[in-house]
Symmetry: C2
Subunit: 301 residues, 2 copies
């Protein structure tokens, strides 16, 4: 099989042709400009690849959201109400399908990354798990019994409520909820709280920032563990580069669960783990979406 | 088909034979005593029904938990660590299967109720929804893309964190987390907070209790909506009898979501709804579990 994969991010679009993360034939990065121009560049890339390398079997698109994912909805395949200027109400699936004439898979970037980590990364062999990204914002994709959660829209786990840590007077920077998980623990929140981005913190300030970040992430993870009962939570994104973050998150989560329901798995080192695919998680997810699109009755991933 | 259904509750066990909630052939209530005696009475009921009415095709058990639901686990089919004296480490599935010689389905009471509401009740036609019960305790079952969430154990949504309401100094009565959703909003929490059960409150006190209950439930629902993206949340249990609770919960939830992700469905009256099956939700769920056990490759419910 020969698949096309598109990861649509806020600053760049990654397009590639391949079969899995170890077999990528060709890859291109396009700056995320105005929708029409960006789409035209995406289509030109794949049209040239088809002309030179032969037809594709399917294309997968993993995109920033929110997205319309209900197949019965007239705007299925659209980015709906993005805070990114010009990118609200943009049809992503239609132009790709019309230009390339192949089945097109479509899902959020984080659902895609969850699928990628499930097939090739840190969640291999599991059927119920969560991929959480902690970067400029916080988002998550979840797989339950082998299927991505869709429901009404898609999960929005960055907006879970978290209890304020004692002594913390940072208001939070989520425009909707102020002090939700994203408002307190995203990369943007860290930069707003400390006056500079996480990468520029050092000494006692860095230590305090890591401790606070671990506490808020663990508080958020509690509110993921109880509703979804995941077998594992994989965390990616730039903020996971903070030194010593993972052991602290695990310790804080044990405290937040307070022994309930008392499963030893929740305290094991392989319950909360770093993402394995790094920047390839998104494109890898788009490859899985292409695979799913070409086999609509496929079970699992 | 002729199915057996068992709902194992903390005070009583309901056993019945039937096909759906409208076609129940015979029903029996057994007080939940010591496990061995209670199991013996359950088995005697079904053995007598088989002798007099003919064989059963399968039996479903919907039980209080926590339960071991991983089929590969040596203790699959057990109640694991129940706070109910004597009921920890009790094999439920084994004795029923050995005595009756039929396939046995097994799940939590709330997962069962979710399945029952999905097939015959307030969640008919949906594939991703949550059934929340608010009684002495708070628990929930969830169906995602047609499948009950299992993962590692099962969801424990009563233990979600909820922000403390302004001016509320009740410590909360969850033995693990004190002020989690269950600790603040269960029937037991209401009784502890006001000094008497919800049914005995009146006047201003009743009004204040309903307002507080709606605020905490809505705070919990926010932390269900964001991770699971349900198409609907069905709420059952004795506390839902509080006058005027549902409209207040809906209004509080809209406030808690604060316009994000901005889906009109979240504000519709059919998003948060009362359970339709009442006390039959549990036994109805056990009927679905029996159906699933007799068709192990069945999709959906």
């Amino acid at each position: 099989m020969r698949w096309g994969a598109i990861e649509v991010g806020g600053t760049k679009v990654v397009c590639l042709v391949g079969f899995d993360p170890d077999h990528i034939v060709v890859q291109s990065r396009i700056p995320t400009g105005k929708p029409a121009e960006t789409l035209a560049q995406m289509l030109a890339f794949f049209q040239q690849e088809v002309a030179s390398g032969g037809p594709l079997d399917a294309i997968g698109i993993a995109s920033f959201g929110p997205l319309e994912l209900r197949r019965s909805h007239p705007r299925y395949g659209f980015i709906t109400s993005s805070p990114k200027p010009g990118w609200s109400d943009v049809d992503m699936v239609g132009p790709v399908r019309r230009a390339l004439g192949v089945p097109v898979g479509f899902d959020t970037d984080v659902n895609g990354a969850a699928l990628g980590e499930g097939r090739w990364g840190a969640a291999r062999g599991l059927d119920t798990f969560v991929y959480l990204t902690v970067g400029t914002g916080i988002g998550a994709g979840a797989v339950v019994e082998g299927r991505v959660i869709h429901g009404l829209g898609h999960p929005e786990m960055g907006h879970l409520s978290v209890p304020r840590q004692p002594g913390d007077d940072f208001a939070g920077d989520c425009p909707f909820h102020a002090d939700c998980l994203e408002g307190m623990a995203s990369g943007a929140a860290i930069a707003a709280r400390w006056g500079r981005p996480a990468e520029q913190l050092d000494g006692n300030e860095l230590q305090a920032a890591v401790a606070l970040e671990a506490a808020y992430l663990a508080a958020g993870l509690r509110n993921i563990v109880y509703p979804i009962a995941p077998q594992r939570i994989v965390i990616g994104g730039s903020v996971t580069g903070l030194p010593g973050l993972f052991p602290l998150v695990r310790a804080n989560l044990a405290e937040a669960l307070a022994g309930y329901p008392g499963l030893p798995e929740h305290s094991a080192d392989d319950f909360i783990v770093p993402a394995a695919l790094g920047p390839l998680a998104g494109p890898a997810g788009a490859l899985v979406l292409a695979d799913h699109a070409s086999q609509p009755n496929l079970e699992g991933f």
